[in-house]
């Protein structure tokens, strides 16, 4: 059996020690995966830590015969590929080498299939334990900024067979600020979050997330104890990250794996004020979003979608609000050289692309919804609201009743939407002048 040297400390070391015998029985690639997660323990979100604990406890409880059967396929592929001959003892580096070996042997697809099968067998039990039916409800709001060139006849067309269209009365909510304030409520005092978001962050700032291409939501939440990621506000961070990666490329890298390892180890801090909440776990999250998401360094809405999907998967906030905006057109020439910085004299004017942005965000907001619905934390428990600033219609989907409903007839005010969200979450909010939209909350 391969003896790994994960160098664990604290709670993760205790966990590995408690389940030492179970870990020893697992195939090397699965064991390396778990140990790599344990290595990252301080930088895991609470939901991820809960999952790792539950996974080890569950596998430890499995009868020997059942576990052997569940892992037999993975073990067979590992043996055929010669994974046991890999000399690396650091689990993360071992994983890289094992993946390369499996690819080289042409069995990585089969291996992935066996790993999927293993987790399909144990996930139902884990899901039942981690996400019981009476867990609190969740809310995901997806917004399109007012300058996106929305085509009404195509708006949210991917959801034709889901949810209910609710006409809106937007009187008195012209402009982004008024729209967002009416939607999320006023702030009690400077430094607090808007009422609805504040109500959801009782157990910590990681319970409510706002992720946006620009910074209208952040302007509404500045100083609040919640989590916020703004592509615009992270500009200096992105520039620094790009510059560092470009320098590394210019100085030469041995392999894509070596480059990835270098990138993973980068410690660049966003400037003060760029993040609403800047715990270590979040700094690592931001770096990973930019490094692992294709296009996140280059396209603002791609950043929003990828960060949202990762937040849902990893942090599992109770409230997530995304706000997509207009992206710029890609610049000729300078944009072809990935990671490089155009020199000052080569700056082409920035040209926004409101029409292309609409096509993009229709797809991206759909992906956020799809990914949330794949996640047991959100399935059956989530109200999804889709709004486009300045558009007098809203799409609402309850994940426990996703089928398409006839459109509502009475226009709702944003105050009613605010009341609906509060009712859905069971939150007590001040200044509630609206009425909940009953079909959405009953």
């Amino acid at each position: 059996m391969i003896q790994f040297n994960p160098g664990l400390t604290g709670e993760s070391a205790t966990l590995a020690q408690q389940h030492r015998d179970t870990l020893a029985r697992l195939p090397a690639t699965v064991r390396a995966f778990i140990l790599t997660e344990l290595q990252k323990w301080p930088l895991l979100f609470e939901a991820e830590q809960r999952y790792q604990r539950a996974l080890l406890e569950h596998v430890s409880r499995l009868p020997e015969h059942d576990l052997d059967q569940a892992i037999a396929g993975i073990g067979r592929i590992e043996k055929d590929a010669g994974v046991d001959r890999i000399g690396e003892r650091n689990p993360a580096r071992f994983q890289d080498e094992a993946q390369a070996l499996l690819r080289k042997r042409g069995v990585n697809v089969a291996w992935r299939g066996e790993v999927d099968r293993f987790f399909q067998q144990i996930d139902p039990a884990l899901d039942a334990q981690l996400y019981p039916g009476d867990a609190p409800r969740r809310l995901i709001v997806q917004l399109y900024a007012g300058n996106i060139a929305v085509q009404r006849e195509k708006l949210w067309n991917r959801f034709r067979r889901a949810g209910v269209r609710v006409p809106l009365n937007l009187e008195g909510t012209t402009g982004s600020d008024a729209f967002l304030q009416a939607l999320f409520g006023v702030r009690d005092a400077a430094g607090s979050a808007p009422a609805l978001l504040a109500a959801a962050t009782a157990s910590g700032p990681l319970d409510a997330w706002i992720i946006e291409s620009h910074d209208a939501l952040h302007a509404l939440c500045d100083g609040a104890s919640m989590t916020g990621l703004s592509y615009d506000r992270l500009r200096a961070y992105r520039d620094e990250l790009t510059r560092t990666l470009n320098q590394k490329i210019q100085s030469g890298v041995d392999s894509p794996q070596a480059f990835a390892a270098y990138a993973r180890g980068l410690q660049i801090a966003p400037p003060a004020g760029a993040l609403l909440y800047s715990a270590d776990v979040l700094l690592a999250f931001v770096r990973d979003v930019f490094l692992t998401g294709n296009g996140t360094l280059l396209v603002n809405n791609t950043f929003v979608e990828w960060a949202a999907v990762q937040a849902l998967r990893r942090a599992q906030p109770r409230i997530l609000v995304t706000r997509f905006g207009v992206r710029d057109k890609l610049k000729p020439f300078s944009s072809m050289v990935l990671f490089s910085q155009p020199r000052a004299s080569d700056h082409n004017p920035v040209v926004p692309d409101p029409a292309g942005s609409f096509i993009d965000v229709e797809q991206l907001s759909y992906y956020v919804w799809l990914n949330a619905e794949k996640n047991p934390a959100y399935r059956q428990k989530t109200l999804y609201l889709f709004l486009a600033e300045g558009v007098d219609e809203m799409l609402a989907i309850r994940s426990d009743k996703p089928a398409a409903q006839p459109a509502a007839t009475t226009p709702a005010r944003l105050a009613d939407v605010y009341a609906t969200m509060a009712r859905w979450l069971g939150a007590t909010v001040p200044n509630q002048s609206g009425e909940p939209i009953l079909p959405l909350v009953s």
Binding site: R103, K104, G106, V109, R112, P256, G293, N294, G295, T296, L298, V299, N301, T302, E305, W306, R327, L330, P332, F333, S334, M336, V337, S340, P342, R343, A344, S345, D346, D353, A355, G356, S357, F358, I359, D360, E362, Q363, L364, Y366, Y367, L370
Partner: protein, 389 residues
């Protein structure tokens, strides 16, 4: 199964020998080249490339993105709506499978050549053809080794010329912006001159493998490339996509050398990795237009008119929304990554036909072999019988 194992051992032995033995860098002109009259048929294979989903192209809802293919090219030829890519869903391996007829499992970033013979090598070897008779023009910058396999009995003496126009563009831009002095990228004339200079200094630095078989050809080749580059920069639409440059280069090579076998790799569609669906759709529409214009160009050249078969095929798909990771990626290996289509038209192809018979992208190579009349090496694909030979 037994033959596959034997085959694998043979390939492995050949590869090892190839590493041990001196590697010849330049192609050789065969001792007794055959005249062009002996192989009048021509084939152009276009990868509708970069990874494109069936639902965004040949499915009913995708027709809006490929108007030229659906309304102008497909009615002239034969459509296989059900084609499948098997094997790894990366660009190099999927394209290498297309030109060899066998699944490939080599370095995804192009540092290794395919492990089974390519159609270029087989064609050139059997017909004793000079290097200028087979070309690969690729937007993907990692395709430098796509023109020949790593087998000792094949390789460089029979490989295709491979040019990577976008790589030239990127390298030149990098050089142009490497210092604060000079015209940068704003002055296109200066940029074009810099490109010419780069070509004079040696294009091997860009990953190009152009096998010169004589001084005269070398000069002609450079003149051709220069003309292509200047045409590119003088285009009133000032195109800035890699595929546009590939298209210009392809036309020049057709004009100058009229190769019998030409594989064109379009790749702009892979901009999907940026996560902007509109840019992905825009690239699909551009590829559709370029394929159409390429066919028009072939019809305008006597060397190609009425004797050319065009095969258009995506080398692979992209992930589905539900089962995979969405259009931005192509690594999940789900069905959407594998489901593609093929359109053939021109010489020997029935007009206005379609075949619901499922085919594989692996079938392209043996089909090309049948059309051009050379023996295909043992491979996984089978010739498409619906095409008349």
């Amino acid at each position: 199964m037994r033959w596959r194992r034997r085959d694998a051992i043979r390939i492995l032995a050949a590869c090892m020998a190839d590493w041990w033995l001196p590697h010849r860098l330049f192609a050789q002109r065969p001792a007794t080249p055959k005249s062009k009259a002996q192989h009048e048929r021509r084939v152009i294979v276009v990868t509708f490339g970069g990874g494109v989903r069936y639902e965004d192209t040949l499915a009913r809802e995708g027709w809006v993105n490929i108007p030229h293919l659906t309304s102008e090219l497909a009615p002239q030829g034969l459509v296989y709506p059900i084609a499948r890519h098997e094997g790894l869903t990366g660009h190099f391996n999927s394209t290498a499978a297309l030109v060899t007829g066998s699944r490939q499992n080599v370095d995804a970033y192009g540092s290794e050549a395919p492990v089974t013979p390519t159609i270029f090598e087989l064609f050139r070897r059997e017909h004793a053809l000079p290097p200028e008779d087979t070309w690969m023009i690729a937007t993907n910058k990692s395709f430098g080794l796509m023109g020949g396999s790593k087998l000792r009995s094949f390789g460089d003496p029979y490989s295709a010329n491979v040019v990577l126009p976008k790589q030239l563009l990127i390298s030149t831009i990098k050089a142009a912006v490497s210092t604060e002095s000079g015209p940068g990228v704003e002055d296109r004339r200066a940029l074009a001159e810099r490109m010419m200079l780069a070509l004079d200094e040696g294009y091997e630095g860009f990953g190009w493998r152009v096998f010169e078989s004589g001084r005269a050809l070398g000069a002609e080749l450079k003149a051709s490339l220069a003309k292509s580059l200047l045409a590119y920069f003088n285009d009133p639409a000032t195109p800035t996509s890699g595929d546009e440059l590939t298209f210009f280069m392809t036309k020049e090579i057709m004009n100058r050398f009229a190769p019998s076998l030409l594989v064109v790799n379009f790749w702009d569609i892979d901009i999907a990795h940026y996560g902007a669906y509109s840019l992905y759709l825009e690239a699909i529409r551009r590829t559709d237009r370029l394929v159409y214009e390429l066919w028009q160009h072939a019809q305008a050249l006597p060397a190609y008119r009425d004797r050319t078969t065009l095969i258009v095929v995506p080398e692979m798909g992209r992930d589905s929304d539900v089962a995979g990771n969405g259009f931005a990626n192509h690594r999940s290996g789900d069905e959407s990554c594998r489901r593609v289509w093929l359109v053939a038209l021109g010489a020997g192809v029935p007009r206005g036909a379609g075949s619901e018979r499922p085919i594989r992208t692996l079938d392209v190579a043996p089909t090309v072999a049948q059309i051009l009349g050379f023996r295909m090496a043992e491979c996984e694909g089978k010739p498409l019988p619906e095409l008349a030979f």
